[in-house]
Structure formats: C-alpha cells, structure tokens
C-alpha cells in the first residue's frame, strides 16, 4: 500500500511539473503568435501606405506632365488614330 502511495506521489509530482512546463510553453508560443500577428498587421498597413504612395507618384496629372515635358509626347486625337473594327471572334 505504501509503495503504491509513493508511486502515485511521484506520478503526481511529475504530472504537475509537465503541467507547469506546458503552461509555460503555451504562454511563450502565444506571445510569439501575438508578435507575428502584430507584424502581419504592421505589414498590411505598410502595404496600404505604399500602395497609396505609389498611386500618388503616378497620378494622371503627373504622368501627363512627365510624358509631355520629359518624353515630348502629345495627347492622341482622333486625327491620328486609326480606328479598326473588331471582326468578331475568329472561327
């Protein structure tokens, strides 16, 4: 009987230690997960910002100005456009 009790005591202590360890692991992993989530959010916001910035750099006003001044391009008019008729899907 005493032996059984001793065995159970050892088992109890061991399982308690495992519990402590796993709780610790769970918390650490959760902290990691949370950090990664924060990082994901930060990157998403970054992407949003960069998208907005890219578009601000490529507004139609700016594109036209650059095309006109740097590349010496002109706006196309119907006079310099050859209109073609779509013959429909090829059979």
């Amino acid at each position: 009987m005493n032996r059984l009790n001793a065995l159970l005591l050892v088992a109890l202590v061991a399982s308690s230690l495992v519990l402590v360890k796993s709780a610790y692991d769970a918390r650490r992993l959760f902290a990691d997960l949370d950090r990664e989530r924060g990082e994901q959010r930060r990157l998403e916001l970054d992407r949003e910002r960069l998208e907005a910035e890219r578009q601000a750099q490529a507004t139609h006003l700016r594109v036209e100005q650059v095309a006109r001044e740097k590349l010496a391009m002109r706006t196309a008019t119907p006079a310099v456009t050859q209109y073609v008729v779509d013959p429909g899907p090829a059979k």
């Binding site: 918390r27 650490r28 916001l45 949003e48 907005a52 601000a56 006003l61 008019t77 310099v80 456009t81």
Partner: protein, 585 residues
C-alpha cells in the same frame, strides 16, 4: 474531585496540587466560544471573498495583470470607378509625452523643440498644460519619430494613429472631401458617407507578462469592423483631365475660379466634378477659405442664354411652333410693360432653330410670352431648377425659382432667357441631360451604378432631338460657340455670358462665362458643363472662354470611354504614299 458542584466543574491542568488553578467553568466556555466565533468570522470572510465578492476580487486581480487592448477599425477607402484609390487610411506615429516623467534636461528639450518645429518656450508651455499627458505632435512622418526616439528622452512616446491619404490630391479634392484629426469626415464624400466609411473599433482582453508580452487571451474578443469602401462613379482620369483644363483656363483668362461637371447620360453617373481653385486635402494647414467651396454645387448664378433651349423645347412640345417657324426679331428690341428687351446684335426674321443658334433674346421672349407662367414653371421644376438635387452630397444648393403666381409679365419674359432665376452648374448640367436622353430626366449619382437608371419623361423624343439639332447648330459655324467643336465628335451646346450680380444690380466689368453641351450630338454619351468666373483677360464670352475647355474635355472623355468618332476626321496618319507594285503571279 470529591465533591461536585452542580454549576462548576474542576479542571485539573497539572498533577501538582500547587498548580491546581481553580478556573471557573464559565471562563473556559467563554474562551471556547470566542475561538468558535473567530472561526466563524474567518469562514464568513472566506465565503464572502470566494463566493459573494468573487467577481470584484477577480476583476481587481485581472486589473493587475490583464489589459484591454483597443483594436482600432480602419476607415473605408474611397475608390473611383476603376478601383483607383482616392482616399485611404494609413498609420502614422503621433508623438506624446508624460511631462512629469520627462525630467529637466534642458539641452534635450531644446533639441526636441527644434525637431518638432516649435520654439523651446512653446514646448514648455505645451508641456505645462497637463502633467500626465500631452500630444506633442500628431500624425508625423515615421522618420521624424525615429529621430525623436534617437534623442533618448524619458517620458516621450509614440502611438500609431490612422491618417487619411489622398493620392489624387487637389484634382479630386472637392468631391472626396477630407476628415479632421479624429477621422471624422468634414467635407465631400468623406462627410456624406461618414457612417459607411467609419468602422467600429473592437477590443480584446489579454494577460501581459512582466516584459509586456501578451501571453493569454481572457474573455471574449470583439473584432473590429472595418469601414466599408465607397466606390464612386468618378473616373479619376477624366477628373484629372477636367481639373487640369479648368485650371489652365482660369490661369489663361486671369479668372477667379472655374468649374467643370461631366455626366455620363447613359447611366446618370458623375464622371468628373472639378473646381479651381482647389486644395490638397492631405495637408491640414490649408483647409480654410474659399478654395474649399465646391463651386459646381454650391454657387448659383442666373443661367442666362442656356435657358433658351428649354423655352424652344416647350414651345415645340406644345405645338406652338416647329423648328422652321419664322419669328420676326427685328428691330432687335421689344417692350414689355415699359421695359425693353434687346438683342446684342439685331437679326431680322429668324426660324426657331436660328433663334437658338444666334441666341436671340427677342425671339425667345416672343415664344415665351405665348405660354402660361404655370407651364414655364412646371417645365423649369421638372428639369430640376429650384429643386434640391437628389444627390447624397453636402452643400448642394437648391437655386432660386419663384412660384409662378408672383411672376409679373416682364419677369416671365426675362426668365425665358435666364434672368430672375438661379441655378448651380451641376443643376444646369443635369437639366441638359434631358436633351441628351431624348427627353428623359434621370437621377444623377455620385456612386457607381449597376443597372440602367429609371427616368422621367419631360419632352417627347422628337422635341428633344429637334432641340439637340439646334444645340448642334449653336456650337457650329454661324453659332455662338464654334470653339466648342471637338475633333472627331459632333457636339451640341449653348453658351452663356452674364454680368455678375453685385449687391442689387449687375457689375459692369465683372462677367461669368459658361458653356453646357452634349456629345456626340448624334447619340449623346456625356453632358459637360464648364463655368469660368470673372475672366478678365479681355475676352469674356462663354464661346471664347468656356467653349474651348468643353471641347478638350469632350474629346478626351469620349476617347477614354472608347466612344468611336461620329464625324469624319481628316487623317493625319502618314502612310506610305508610294504606289504599290503589282504582284506578279
């Protein structure tokens, strides 16, 4: 222990009789009761803490290790019809401080003040406002925060805040509007769709460890609900182009301001709505003054000659005239109840079509005076004059159209050529969509539409087409605005020029010039209205100032919409002019 008293019992505490204390039994009972009471109090207290007050203590405990984090929702984006971003939220650092935790590091403070763009006394004053929390500067660049952080000052922190970014800047500023520092819409679509754009913040309760890391979620998490994206009908290309053209026109004619409205008459969508002067909605320092006015919607003026086609339409619709009915406009003036109405240039006999083409006041008044005031009033209100535009947009004005019962004959006459009532440029553009849609008036929308709109018939298709033909003549050779012609596309439209109202009368040297028209005239796709306020570089007629802007905007817009040209164009494409040699076979 020989004798026994009924009320007392000897308790022997020691074997030695010397030590035999004669404790009265009442005292020992008293002690036992006292101890029992103490236990009862302890048990009661335990029950109180564990059961009755459990919630409170749990909460107190959580307060010491738990934190509730805000999960801020992001404001929805505003995009144009092709998904181009017109407004979006990005996070930027806002710098704040706990003044009592800052210490008295003079040199550090001076450096900080310089970085923040303040003088040291200004900074001190700001820090003296509240010992626990002050904003130093909100919504700064990431790089500025990094420099401030590098100073290593105690008590200076940052928090990420949302800020609106407007990539299209000044070109679409009046439509998109702007928000205040708390992310509340103040103008334009930002204000009109505040409810939809604004999200709902969420929260989550967490346990934090000693290092500030989140180690556990407790309780339920409330997810943030991000704001809805708003998809406008606007085409940012058309918008940018229209803005650029009106900006150039205002500069060229040394004008005060200008506006352009472009409507897609097939769907009733607003493709562009541009005003100059404009502003950069992302720069909070300059968000004041007249430049914020969305003039196309908020400024009213007397529509002048642009009203004449409606009178001609009504006269034809009611069978009083046909396009070829001749009206005598000689000698170029007429008198109604003592007031004289004049044409700037006398013309002699004109057909109804020519009255519109040449913009004859006398001819128009002769048609109008055959009508009942009620008829005219009904026409004007049915095309939207004097009615608040059914447009979910702040600041749209009603314009002025007095009830017909109070019209005097001279007023009926002047109203037929556009004086005595007022309208915004937007209302005028919408009214002209009646001619473009074969007599139907459709609702106009700032948002992208999916289905075809349901219109209300104002004119018969025949009448609308006849007026369109007159508008085409007015914008053609012999009309008032040949400069409205666009390469490749037939256009129709009407000019307007008026002295500006000043006080009770009209200013002699201040004008307003405008042009409203549709294109392509054969099967209209767009209505464009252009207005230039106070052109003061010698030319001031609508046909000279506003019509060229109309022409360019029409040409570009139709091209962008992929509408094929409907009139022949002299090709300038240089192909190989050499004759081909016959193939031998």
């Amino acid at each position: 222990m020989k004798h026994k008293a009924p009320s007392s019992r000897r308790v022997t505490y020691a074997a030695s009789p010397l030590l035999a204390a004669k404790t009265p039994p009442g005292r020992s009972r008293f002690v036992v009761a006292l101890v029992a009471l103490a236990f009862a109090v302890l048990v009661g207290r335990a029950v109180y803490i564990q059961i009755i007050g459990a919630g409170f203590y749990q909460q107190q405990g959580e307060m010491r290790y738990g934190r509730t984090l805000d999960l801020p929702a992001s404001r929805g984006r505003i995009v144009d019809r092709n998904g181009q971003i017109l407004a979006t939220s990005i996070t930027t650092p806002s710098i704040w401080a706990i003044p009592k935790g800052m210490g008295a590091d003079r040199a550090g403070r001076e450096k900080l003040a310089r970085l923040l763009g303040m003088t040291p006394p200004e900074l001190d004053k700001r820090l003296a406002e509240n010992a626990n929390f002050v904003w130093l500067r909100r919504q700064v660049d990431e790089s500025l925060w990094l420099t401030v952080k590098a100073l290593g000052l105690k008590g200076v922190y940052q928090v990420a805040e949302y800020r609106r970014q407007y990539p299209e800047g000044e070109a679409a500023a009046h439509v998109v509007g702007f928000t205040n520092v708390e992310d509340q819409g103040l103008e334009g679509v930002e204000l009109a769709f505040q409810k939809e754009l604004q999200g709902r913040d969420g929260s989550r309760a967490v346990v934090r460890d000693r290092l500030g890391r989140v180690v556990e979620d407790i309780g339920e998490q409330v997810d943030p609900v991000n704001g809805r994206d708003i998809e406008l009908a606007l085409d940012s290309k058309v918008q940018a182009f229209a803005y650029q053209r009106i900006r150039d026109a205002v500069a060229e004619h040394k004008a005060q301001a200008g506006s352009v409205v472009v409507l897609d008459v097939q769907t009733g969508e607003v493709l562009a709505l541009a005003n100059f002067p404009s502003f950069d909605p992302g720069d909070r320092h300059h968000l004041t003054g007249a430049q914020l006015r969305n003039r196309a919607l908020t400024d009213t003026f007397e529509p002048g000659s642009t009203m004449k086609p409606f009178i001609a339409g009504l006269a034809m619709q009611s069978g009083r005239v046909t396009p070829s009915t001749v009206i005598q406009t000689a000698p170029g003036w007429m008198t109604i109840t003592g007031s004289t109405i004049r044409d700037a240039h006398p013309h002699g006999p004109l057909t109804v079509a020519q009255v519109i083409q040449k913009s004859s006041n006398v001819g128009t008044v002769k048609m109008a005076m055959q009508m009942q005031p009620r008829e005219m009033w009904e026409l004007f209100s049915s095309v939207g004059f004097g009615q608040k535009p059914q447009l979910n947009f702040p600041g749209a004005v009603t314009g002025r159209l007095r009830p017909y019962k109070s019209w005097r004959p001279i007023e009926q006459a002047t109203m037929s050529y556009g004086y005595g009532l007022s309208t915004s440029l937007f209302q005028l553009a919408r009214a002209y969509s009646v001619f473009a849609r074969d007599g139907e008036l459709i609702p106009i929308s700032m948002l992208r539409q999916d289905g075809p709109p349901v219109g209300v018939r104002v004119f018969t298709p025949q009448t609308a087409r006849a007026v369109r033909e007159m508008l085409r003549m007015a914008a053609g050779p012999g009309g008032t605005a040949p400069k409205a012609q666009a390469i490749g596309y037939s256009v129709g439209g009407k000019t307007g020029t008026a002295h500006k109202q000043e006080g009770k009368g009209y200013a002699t040297n201040k004008f307003r010039a405008w042009f409203v028209g549709l294109a392509p005239a054969s099967n209209p796709r767009i209505v464009v209205a252009v207005m230039v306020d106070e052109p003061s570089n010698r030319v001031y007629y609508g046909g000279d100032v506003a019509a060229p802007v109309f022409s360019q905007v029409v040409q570009q817009t139709l091209r962008m919409l992929g509408v094929p040209p409907d009139i022949d164009v002299k090709q300038q494409i240089v192909t190989d002019a050499l004759p081909a040699v016959q193939e031998s076979f």
